[in-house]
Symmetry: C3
Subunit: 322 residues, 3 copies
Amino acid sequence: MNQEDTTSQSHVSLDNLVEQMVQSYLADGQMHHLNATFLPSRERIIQIIELTRRLLFPGFFDSAQLTTETVRFHVGDLLIQLRTLLNEQIHQALRYGAKVQGNVSEASDHQAAKLTTIFLQRLPEVRRMLATDIRAAFEGDPAAQSTDETIFCYPGIDAIFIHRVAHELWILDIPLLPRMMGEYAHNETGIDLHPGATVGESFFIDHGTGVVIGETCTLGKSVKIYQGVTLGALSTKGGQAWRGSKRHPTIDDNVTIYGGAIILGDITIGKNTTIGGSVFVTRSIPANHTVTMKGQELEIHERRKRKSKKGLEADSLLDFQI
Amino acid sequence: MNQEDTTSQSHVSLDNLVEQMVQSYLADGQMHHLNATFLPSRERIIQIIELTRRLLFPGFFDSAQLTTETVRFHVGDLLIQLRTLLNEQIHQALRYGAKVQGNVSEASDHQAAKLTTIFLQRLPEVRRMLATDIRAAFEGDPAAQSTDETIFCYPGIDAIFIHRVAHELWILDIPLLPRMMGEYAHNETGIDLHPGATVGESFFIDHGTGVVIGETCTLGKSVKIYQGVTLGALSTKGGQAWRGSKRHPTIDDNVTIYGGAIILGDITIGKNTTIGGSVFVTRSIPANHTVTMKGQELEIHERRKRKSKKGLEADSLLDFQI
Amino acid sequence: MNQEDTTSQSHVSLDNLVEQMVQSYLADGQMHHLNATFLPSRERIIQIIELTRRLLFPGFFDSAQLTTETVRFHVGDLLIQLRTLLNEQIHQALRYGAKVQGNVSEASDHQAAKLTTIFLQRLPEVRRMLATDIRAAFEGDPAAQSTDETIFCYPGIDAIFIHRVAHELWILDIPLLPRMMGEYAHNETGIDLHPGATVGESFFIDHGTGVVIGETCTLGKSVKIYQGVTLGALSTKGGQAWRGSKRHPTIDDNVTIYGGAIILGDITIGKNTTIGGSVFVTRSIPANHTVTMKGQELEIHERRKRKSKKGLEADSLLDFQI
């Protein structure tokens, strides 16, 4: 069979394939967005984040040299770009939200412009908060050689930067955008920090991969969290019926939570308390306490080598004889 | 020493460097692909995934507006692009596979075209399965505000989308491609879901970072898994000798597995059973049961501050006194 | 209010917004890099890694066909590109480092060229080490079908490749660059392997998401590590005061560490020892031993359904009754 035959044969079935896909679209209403253009764009949202990053950390991610003389023009230019993009995406998101709620009258241009301005006016405060986070990261990690290193290299800084930006949009009740930003951060850093969570200043997540912080968490000042920590809900078998209820922990000021600890439910960890690694906590802990696992007993014995039935040198079951 | 000297000095050693690298290539056969072009391209495979995503979720990731009128052209265009790329990459992969097995006669163009067509015909069914996954994600998470949000923002949806696509290629015995797709998903989502695993409909992974699901796992319908869960093998010290054997768990319908649980070996978790967080399971569990850790005892005591030898305010050992 | 009004209103506040941002910059010295251009570029560093990848694995990531005849030209071309970029970025990093330490005399061009050459001369040895890692990955994982698959698809190989490159720059005391490379690997793979760590040959990390290996770790030959393992420090409450001290584990030859194990502090795990999954270790373990959790007792009971106050079918607390 020559090339042409193959092609023509495949060509025939293309019509069928198209027809099958179109039928598949028409069969359900949830998995397509035909006849509707009001969706935010992931690409643009990433652009918004990167413009904001350059605005908040001037000179760190720019190729051109910035001086105190030129910076004003640079900032003006970034702000104009950011405002345009943000205005467009907020508008899309508001129209999307209105449509989902069956609200026929579209969200006005005016509303999008107003929310954009409110957001931009919050940026200096966001920047002030981030400065406290950067100091916390540097001071909290002996491996950090400078605050610059934390800005360039720390996923925890990346995550809290995106979070503080997304949280501002969350407060303004803008649909989808904050979550899309949060998921971009999750993708980049392995830290799943829901934009609904309230996070106090001087926050530091070290390493970060696997951290999950739920929607209704409230974190005080100077909280420090290590990789693999979950601040989650108890069983959410009820699913959508739990929507909106406070179901995640409150963490008070100066709490440190070591790697792999799992803290679940609407409980409170009091000020200055330390939660040890891998601990599983489902009730409130008072201030100024330390929580560790009690006597995780280890079995330590010399290895004995045996031939398994498969003739492999396998003491596999010993390795996992729990 | 001026600039020119430095350059010329470095220039001299370039010949040496080239020679050393070439010698390094010739010294071993496993780490180069000289004289062979039959390798799939990671870049193209990502293009294939993104084209498929646009095909399965029309209107979600497109910049142009789609209507029920125009969608047919859109689908036709996407299918043509997808077929061309897929045909090319499947052909490369088959030639690669034939060569690895010492099969001199190259895989024919015809075979690649045939497998491409079979794959494309499976897409409506893949889409039907994904619709059940999206419903499961929305219904299973009180933080989800719409099914759209799960499509835009949920790494679990991203992972199962790529898995269902990759698994179709796995079933067709196409070398390398399915694993490269799976690893792209792993990279994007932190979820390591081997394309060999069989996954029933209405599957939901929440948060997802750190999840590992091994090659010979079988998962029923409506399985729900949280971040950090491992469905793995027992010790694989035997390495390659275990290849192909069923060494991972079977999970029945309606099983929920909470964060950090580790389930190892060729065991079965029965229908409707719940596995609690951080539990370590290496034996089968019957249907309709709940498995939790028994009494992880916590040590909770007030913090005492002491000066350490280094003069640091360190109660470090207390924090980890296990 | 028409479009023009909105725009002009917003336009007025742009001056204010610019002024507020500039004031925010001037208020602190740590979060901007005005009047200084000596920063390395993340984009260029990624280019350096990708060029090095193509140099070390010829034919794997190239679109053009390489033969033993043409490879010399290819290598020469890659080396020239790599040397140029590397020289530039090392120079930036050295100038940055000199400035941070208040050293007015800038690092010379000569120093950057010299370090670049030393680095390039180390590449054949780096490649030799990587060949042992690739063999370890293939032999250690029954799911691997070829060594090619490990090069294309294994995040553990990606992480150790970038680590071995970054570690060479670390040894040469080049600021920032090694950490930026390490963080790129962390971002791509979920493996946080500090460039300061010393890693012997035949190293294999399987799956990898959530692995953390600290700055002062020392790993022997043929060490095998699974997802979620932490080789960390004990409490670093002292922060910067601990900088430079050996505070992470030493792992001897042929040690295997299963998923989720946490090993903390300046302790030693002896040769041929196996650390079981999820074990928490803070003291040295002798050679030829196996360490597992002792009797994690499970509670296994049949599910009872009850109506909760909210009317949900919730046995949530049972699921987490610890």
